[in-house]
Amino acid sequence: MSIAMPAPDQATLAKRDRIIAAMRAIVPGEGVIVDEAALRPWESDGLTAYRQPPMLVVLPETVEQVSAVLRWCHGEGVRVVPRGSGTSLSGGALPLADAVLLGMGKFKRVLDIDYEDRVAVVQPGVTNLAITQAVEGRGLYYAPDPSSQIACSIGGNVAENSGGVHCLKYGLTTNNVLGVELVLMDGEIVRLGGRHLDPGGLDLLGVIVGSEGLLGVVTEVTVRILPKPETARAVLVGFPDAEQAGACVAQVIAEGIIPAGMEMMDQPAIHAAEAFVKVGYPLDVGALLIVEVDGPAAECDHLIEEIARIAGTNGAVTTRVSQDEAERVAFWAGRKAAFPAVGRISPDYYCMDGTIPRRRLPEVLRRMEELSQKYGLGVANVFHAGDGNLHPLILYDANVPGELDRAEEFGNDILRLCVEVGGVLTGEHGVGIEKRDLMPEMFTEADLKQQQRVKCAFDPALLLNPGKVFPTLHRCAELGRMHVHHGALPHPELPRF
């Protein structure tokens, strides 16, 4: 609980009644929530260690209402925190005591599906999985598949640039979104992109995706939908240790294969998952790989053979190829249940999300084990092996005084380690509040200021989702200043042509 949020603005708190009245004038009926008990369910997102009831919740139903809410709050200097389904694992939707929590859950309609050009236009509150469900009757699907896909909203996916187990082959949200309608903090409604590829002008859509709700509120999303692969097959491979599993992953890619999914679990994760779902994972291996290929049957058959061969040359001790769809699903059941499975062996766990260059994996796992001993906390690892995205699960008990703080410190050390070996703080969960104060590990002050100047172009009063992503809030006027260089001659020494 070491992360501080911006101090509540007393003047805002003092005018809460007036804010409520203004919001009710914009969003009639039950769309404005103000009672203390009714605010309680909104106090946290997927990062449940942090809780803060919002000043009030507003649930608009139209883009005009979103615009009016933001315009009014902008005029009055009131902060706003946007929220999709509240599944963020980084605290991106954590409320503030002096802010309006703008819930987009009522934007639930699929607006249009163009089957010929394979595009769907949806409102931001539509869940990730609901997009696939809307089009699967025609053999299509929406590719990014974060593990929270039954609950998480596409608007939240846009904010977080969500990935999933298939993103090495199919990309993150940003690679699958064509356009958005967006409301800026001053209430202005803009449309970025459309239904076509590569619009001219600056790629503002590209910076909106993954901006963690700091630049605008998305009110409509246009995504590409893809033909569902004809078949999918998976192979389950056990290795004595992670080093050999990592070598296998490297060779799969070196031989030109980009699997649809390639997941690794370490021994604690294997045991936890097997105890929970009993799918027949080998328990005597140090690392387990699930490699899935999809596409035409002929391709899957060929690649599965190739992968089994590569696994054999890298010391695999068990290799099981899925013989039917039920077995393929069973292979995944353990992996997909890894988080709740770990939840069974530990009162609480804290999920990390760094990415590393894959070849550094053995070293990172070794040093993580040292950290585990230093902090006296266990760790189980699941790993998107194809793209180097680690999900260490730190085991702790929040009821033991000091353990949460130790778990956070342990987590911070893991992320520092990821950066040290050439990786990043977050591969798919976002910075939010969770990794905010670690940003200087990866970026210099100059790097962060340049990012914040982009924020200033969208929200110069810094009212939208403050306290997230950036460890230091600089006023925009300060960021805009330039140091002027006097008197220097323009490079007489340089060759000119």
Partner: protein
């Protein structure tokens, strides 16, 4: 023309220009120098800031300096059985920095993404003369704003990239092309939509005004063979298909991807929802336009001898946009290169440009969108 030898030279040049209120145009190989409005401005060539910084095939990551020739980069990754999946193309002088800054992508773009989708990270010098890093050197990262997306396709209007980290992918072992002939545009679009929407995993689809419709199938040999066998049945309602050799197919793809063989003094590149491409051609046919379709219809090259803006108007009416790629000087002096966006978006873009370049060092007038830039003080 200034030719800084390294990032430090370049940083100083930009900082001086910013403090002295001068303009600079960043240039790679200069192969697209004729793009945009005529302008008199000092050019900074990045060609000497060249070379490979790091290439790690196993990690699918390549870091290069901007002046590295595109052909060298492609040869380097091809040597490891890899590719830049967005299929960039250009003249012999084209550089990797210029290619990314101009967002050049080939036929595979429709399924593999564009330059923006493969630019993982960068180091750049902003219009403030300050060096900054954004993104990272790993394939999966969401830490901080995705500034690489902004820099790709920005035509050097935000800053100078001095290091680019690109995602590389395995090159398909086998590439095959299936050909249909004689389809009119509407039927060709329907055939391409069917192919791209099928699970035969067609990776590119193009149609030429001479009647050829091209479908590309790439991957491992057994898979390519199976898909080429399956496609005729999948396409039975549309057209018969024949398989071309790569020697036969390559020049046809080149025509679709670049539009280079089309005649006409005015050249447009239209991006639009693919289903609207036939209607675009119906509108432009009476004007005697030359054309070629790529990306399943999502990209249409159009050439004319007419300096009017009918192409842009038609593209806008169909939910797309037209970029003026080449035209006589007097036309380029009056018609902006990029299709104007809505006023709110233009204003937002201007604010974002100022976030990188407060003095308007890179606001050269090339895009005719910086009318008020000169009034902005540092």
């Amino acid at each position: 023309m200034l030719e800084p030898r390294d990032a430090q030279d370049l940083r100083q040049i930009v900082a001086d220009a910013a403090s002295q209120g001068r303009k600079l145009e960043l240039r790679g190989g200069g192969t697209r120098a004729g793009f945009g409005a005529p302008r008199e401005v000092e050019v900074v060539s990045l060609r000497q800031i060249a070379g490979v910084v790091d290439y790690d095939p196993a990690e699918l990551v390549l870091t290069v300096r901007p002046g590295t020739p595109l052909a060298d980069v492609q040869a380097l990754v091809a040597g490891q059985g890899q590719m830049l999946a967005f299929e960039p193309w250009g003249d012999a002088d084209a550089t990797i920095g210029g290619t990314v800054a101009a967002s050049v992508a080939g036929s595979r773009r429709v399924t593999a993404g564009s330059a923006r989708d493969h630019l993982l990270g960068l180091t750049a010098i902003s219009g403030r003369g300050e060096s900054f890093v954004a993104g990272a050197k790993v394939v999966k990262n969401v830490t901080g704003y995705d500034l690489p997306k902004l820099m790709a396709g920005s035509w050097g209007r935000l800053g100078a990239m001095i290091e680019l980290t690109l995602k590389v992918l395995p090159r398909p072992r086998v590439t095959a092309t299936m050909l249909a002939t004689g389809l009119p545009p509407r039927a060709a679009h329907a055939a391409m939509a069917c192919a791209l929407g099928s699970n035969a995993e067609v990776s590119a689809a193009a149609h030429l005004s001479t009647g050829e419709t091209l479908l590309r199938v790439a991957g491992f040999a057994p898979s390519v063979e199976a898909r080429c066998m399956a496609l005729p049945a999948l396409m039975a309602g549309h057209c018969p298909l024949q398989r071309l050799t790569e020697e036969e197919a390559a020049p046809l793809w080149q025509r679709a991807m670049t539009g280079a063989e089309l005649q006409g003094s005015v050249r447009w590149k239209v991006h639009l929802p693919p289903a609207r491409a036939p209607e675009l051609l119906e509108r432009l046919a009476p004007l005697g336009a030359g054309w070629a379709m790529d990306w399943g219809g999502g990209l249409v090259w159009v050439t004319l001898d007419d300096p009017g803006t009918q192409v842009r108007d038609a593209a806008a009416a169909l939910g797309g946009e037209a970029t003026l790629i080449a035209a006589p000087q007097d036309m380029r002096a009056t018609v902006p290169a990029l299709q104007p966006r809505a006023a709110g978006v233009m204003a937002l873009e201007q604010r974002v440009r100022r976030a990188f370049d407060p003095a308007g060092v890179f606001a050269t007038g090339r895009f005719m969108e910086d009318a008020d830039a000169d009034q902005l003080s540092a």
